[in-house]
Symmetry: C2
Subunit: 422 residues, 2 copies
């Protein structure tokens, strides 16, 4: 029993069960693909969204700052880097956090007005989450702090080829339920954060009838869209993230709940939102990293540019489903034994076992779902998250497992106790 007393504990337990129920009963459905300006609440032509709690412009550093500037250039909001910095400093170009606009950012997580976003509706609770598109297999990407002619071309390729084909297929399908895909993908070696290979194939499979219809209608670029969807392990991540946002938001705002409803990183901090503590972010230091780096890179290059793909861990995927994805070891290092052990330990800090997301190796046990800040503090076990690793000079330089700092949970419990005194 904690200092807050029995009544408080009972309230919290009930509230956490409700949060857990909502995480479980959410039914994310991909309903459309639209430009960010049309889809995201509060988005404007002069807004750039980026990962993590919003910072004053002057506080953005390194790759995340470069990524925001790159976004301004891509969107044509300034003629050059100096011009972009001037307009950003003057507030003519507004920077805001993704979460405030019903979306989540991968790594630096840059959204500009023209970028297409997946629109994922939570059919059970009615809320909507969004995510923009994977830029492709090249490690030099805007969301990893790089902007040059190649990045621009690949972003335009997404805007002009990949997204329109998928949009038409998704509309023809009348929406694609994502939970069945995620559920099956967990049986096919994905954990839906750093590995989305099977989910990308399954999504493609769902769209085949509609892709064939587009081909019959004379559409010439369908192959290219399919190639983009299945090129590697990452395409479906953005759908997993949008589904995560749509799911986690449904569990946010429950009076008395100590369940984590969002995890977000910016260049300065690791941050969480707690279901029962409103929209404020609770900050802590950056996670520790166990990475496997691509050839030619070294640990001293590792840098933080942001990241909100950790929404997957928030709903019981990613690091919370590692034992479903042993192939990850080839990509992000580690051993199957460590993956299993880590996965098992996370049951000690979560409210329950997911009713739909299950791990074959654990005899189809549901994934540990609903991180309770009190359980983290009591056990000292911190959430682990699968993550792409950014390099100081921009670009992806590897992948790995990152572990949250306990400090943030200490602050969160303190904030909870202030908000809900015994």
């Amino acid at each position: 029993m904690t200092a807050m007393g029995k009544g408080g504990e009972a309230l919290r337990a009930r509230a956490n069960q409700e949060a857990f129920r909502r995480l479980n009963e959410s039914e994310p459905v991909l309903v459309d693909i639209l430009p960010a300006i049309e889809a995201l609440p509060g988005m404007t032509r002069e807004t750039i969204l980026t990962s993590g709690p919003a910072l004053p412009w002057k506080d953005y550093i390194g790759g995340q700052r470069d990524a925001i500037i790159g976004g301004a250039l891509f969107e044509g909001l300034a003629p050059d880097r100096a011009g972009a910095e001037r307009r950003l400093a003057a507030g003519e170009i507004k920077v805001d956090g993704c979460h405030a606009h019903a979306c989540v950012g991968s790594l630096a997580g840059i959204y500009t007005a023209s970028m297409p976003v997946f629109v994922v509706r939570n059919d059970t609770f009615g809320n909507v989450g969004h995510c923009n598109f994977y830029e492709g297999t090249n490690p030099r990407r805007l969301n990893y702090g790089v902007y040059d002619e190649g990045v621009r071309e690949r972003l335009l390729y997404v805007n002009n080829v990949v997204a329109p084909v998928l949009r038409d297929a998704v509309r023809a399908a009348g929406g694609i339920p994502l939970k069945p895909i995620i559920k099956r993908a967990l049986h096919l070696g994905d954990e839906l954060h750093s590995r989305n290979t099977a989910a990308s194939l399954l999504l493609t499979r769902e769209l085949v009838p509609h892709l064939l219809a587009l081909a019959r209608g004379g559409r010439a670029d369908v192959e290219e869209a399919v190639a983009a969807m299945t090129a590697d392990h990452y395409f479906f991540l953005r759908l997993s993230m949008a589904a995560g946002k749509a799911t986690a938001d449904a569990a946010h705002g429950i009076e008395g709940s100590s369940v984590v409803s969002a995890i977000a990183i910016n260049c300065r901090a690791f941050a969480m939102r707690i279901s029962g503590l409103g929209d404020a972010w609770i900050n802590g230091p950056h996670p520790t990293v166990q990475a496997k780096l691509f050839d030619g890179h070294t640990e001293d290059e590792i840098t933080w540019m942001g990241g909100e793909s950790t929404i997957t861990e928030t709903i019981g995927l990613g690091g919370f489903a590692q034992a479903a994805a042993f192939p990850l070891q080839a990509y992000q290092g580690g051993s199957p034994e460590a993956m299993v052990e880590r996965n098992l330990s996370l049951y000690k800090i979560t409210v329950g076992e997911n009713k739909d997301y299950q791990i074959p190796f654990l005899r189809y046990r549901g994934t540990p779902t609903g991180i309770d800040i009190f359980k983290v503090l009591e056990t000292g076990i911190v959430p682990v998250m699968d993550a792409g690793i950014a390099g100081r000079d921009g670009g992806q330089i590897g992948a790995g497992v990152v572990s949250a700092s306990l400090d943030c949970f200490v602050s969160a419990v303190q904030a909870y106790r202030e908000r809900y005194p015994a």
Copy 2:
């Protein structure tokens, strides 16, 4: 050291290394889809092929006998069951074993002249293996000893819709290398015998550009072919089997080798061919069965109708790759721990670890490949095989793991010693 002496052991070891090398270096490629009459050596309009060593007609019993009769009716070789039995008894319809015609049979394994077969060429060694098509998800299937109007319709659907679309796509692709698909599928939860979910998706993915081109050309039935390919866990099995036949045949006929080059079952016996012992079959009793039955079925219904999908185990897949396919437990029973233990034990009876077929959970260790009859006899560890389970009244009634009887290996070693006296 065995009784055969050191010289003999050295010969055998060298021969087994050569068999292992051939198993490893085989490169099976799907090059065409053709009617059995055009593809299979020695096939005639009046021939029906079935699994296992060929038996005199009178010795075929139960579901395998029914399946042969069903094949005769499907092919129009007789107007009714009595007529078919008469012609079979008279030898006017010839029955032969699949292996003698460069193909392998699933369960009863019925081939008739008009049935389409996958043509898989071993690009390294030049030989060709074949397999016919999966009949679909209905448990009532010709290869499970059932023939009625529904079975006939589903077979005609394969002949007239599924096979032609795939044939055209495969030809347009200029062939589909199967090893890369099998290799990836092992990272996606398949073991390529009782689970081929990922391989079926990957094959579909490879064919997408050509399927889209067919759609553009006005072909209306492409969706149906894709639906058949991805309906469940089994479509790719026939390709895994054809690849297995093309691979195992390349390792057959090596002077002095004690490696198993084929495993085949008929209604009477379990049988093996050994690389260094020519084309004769060595017979033994049927395997023991650990099955998970579909609802409403009981163990006393289990029956043997034949089966040559065990060619997958011969090349290091199926039961020899169970630790790649934990989702199998939902289908055929067992626990992940038992699957791992069983898989590990098989390294003790094989020549080496496959260079391409790897198991993520075992830290990407190659699958145990090349069953050595001497190692089986020395250790008492027998090959385990994943298998569909047939019911006495026809149809599939479940799936499970079957274990070979040691007796057959005793006979094989005896035959080896007679052929290669010290």
